[in-house]
């Protein structure tokens, strides 16, 4: 399991725009580099990242070789109800990792 730092606000007002941040430890090997033996190092990047909010997809992204190692992905969504935010991603080795965070949405709507 890759080391990750997930930042989701623990509480929010109903209708509030919240920022979700994910920092994922990953080499993001481009597939264009050669090793000390001159052979190509096989590509190994996270190529798909998606976020679901209570099961509904609210954000997704395709990633390409130009993305840095240890990618930092940040996006916003509207807090509608309390529940679970699940972030999952898949790399070229076929590893899929899912990290979840709870968000509690208050009853008072945002002004």
């Amino acid at each position: 399991m890759a080391r990750t730092l997930i930042n989701v606000p623990a509480t929010a007002k109903r209708g509030e725009v919240v920022e979700i941040k994910a920092l994922i430890s990953h080499p993001m090997e481009t597939g264009f580099r050669t090793g000390s033996d001159g052979a190509l190092i096989p590509r190994d990047i996270i190529h798909r990242f998606a976020c679901t909010y209570n099961g509904e997809e609210v954000f997704s992204a395709d990633l390409f070789p130009a993305i840095t190692a240890n990618p930092f992905i940040t996006f916003t969504t509207v807090a509608e109800e309390s529940g679970e935010i699940a972030l999952s991603w898949t790399d070229d080795q076929g590893n899929t990792q899912t990290e979840t965070a709870k968000i509690t949405v208050g009853q008072d709507p945002v002004e």
Binding site: R3, L5, L23, N70, F72, T74
Partner: protein, 256 residues
């Protein structure tokens, strides 16, 4: 008359700019970075160096070697036992009769107390342990060099800092004392206060030690870099940390 006076003033300002950074105008490399990179370092959930710090925390608590002992078994909670420790490194080692760096102390502890195989220089595990220990002192002022036994080694480090070397015939001081704040290509030359090490350097896309950074600079002036763990590196590191005394530690720093 006015013209002459203003040109004289300009000359004075120029001289001040090229003189050694005074105590009141010492700046961390942080202050020379763009606002985006500063924001990245300041936010612990955006700072990629924190991934290494968390790895280090795991290693701290994991038993290793023939002694099957973890760092925590002797040192306990790093938040209290390691607080302020990194601000005093490199420090004098009685056994070696010379200063040693934080990395060397970790390796020494690993060999003597854990009886574990050594970690390679610049290996992710060594950087992670070093980052975790140094992180416990974040915000505390650097105190390196207070021990009088270190004086000859600090002088030796100053010698290395001011000695011209390489095909380009530059000393460290030629850039970092005489021309800080100006640009070298696209990059601003900082004052060389190593307060954030080990750092996450965006160019490396990885963590790295001060020795790796120094080797970069030496390759830049076409000089032969010192080896990892060499006494020259320790003396340079000791001099630079003594020079940075009073500045707060930032580990893990983010640098472009």
């Amino acid at each position: 008359m006015t013209v002459r006076r203003s040109s004289l003033a300009a000359a004075v300002i120029l001289l001040a700019g090229t003189a050694l950074a005074s105590d009141t105008d010492r700046r961390s490399g942080f202050d020379f970075m763009g606002p985006q990179t500063q924001a990245m370092q300041a936010d612990d959930t955006a700072n990629p160096g924190m991934l290494s710090v968390l790895d280090g925390e795991d290693l701290w608590n994991t038993p290793a070697g023939a002694a099957n002992r973890s760092c925590a078994d002797c040192h306990g909670d790093a938040a209290t036992s390691m607080r302020g420790v990194a601000t005093r490194y490199p420090s004098y080692d009685e056994k070696a009769k010379a200063p040693i760096t934080l990395d060397q102390r970790i390796l020494q502890c690993r060999a003597d107390r854990q009886e574990a195989p050594p970690l390679a220089w610049e290996s992710p595990d060594l950087l992670a342990l070093s980052a975790y220990v140094a992180h416990q002192s974040r915000g505390l002022p650097v105190e390196t060099g207070a021990d009088p036994q270190l004086t000859p080694f600090i002088d030796q480090g100053r010698e290395l800092f001011t000695q011209r070397q390489g095909q380009l015939d530059f000393s460290c001081a030629d850039c970092h004392d005489a021309n800080w704040g100006k640009r070298l290509g696209g990059a601003v030359i900082p004052q060389a206060h190593p307060t954030g090490y080990p750092i996450y350097r965006l160019e490396w896309q990885a963590m790295g030690s001060l020795q790796r950074r120094l080797r970069n600079c030496m390759a830049g002036v076409r000089a032969e870099p010192y080896g990892f763990g060499s006494p020259e590196h320790t003396e340079l590191e000791l001099f630079l940390m003594t020079r940075a005394r009073g500045l707060p530690l930032e580990t893990p720093g983010v640098r472009p």
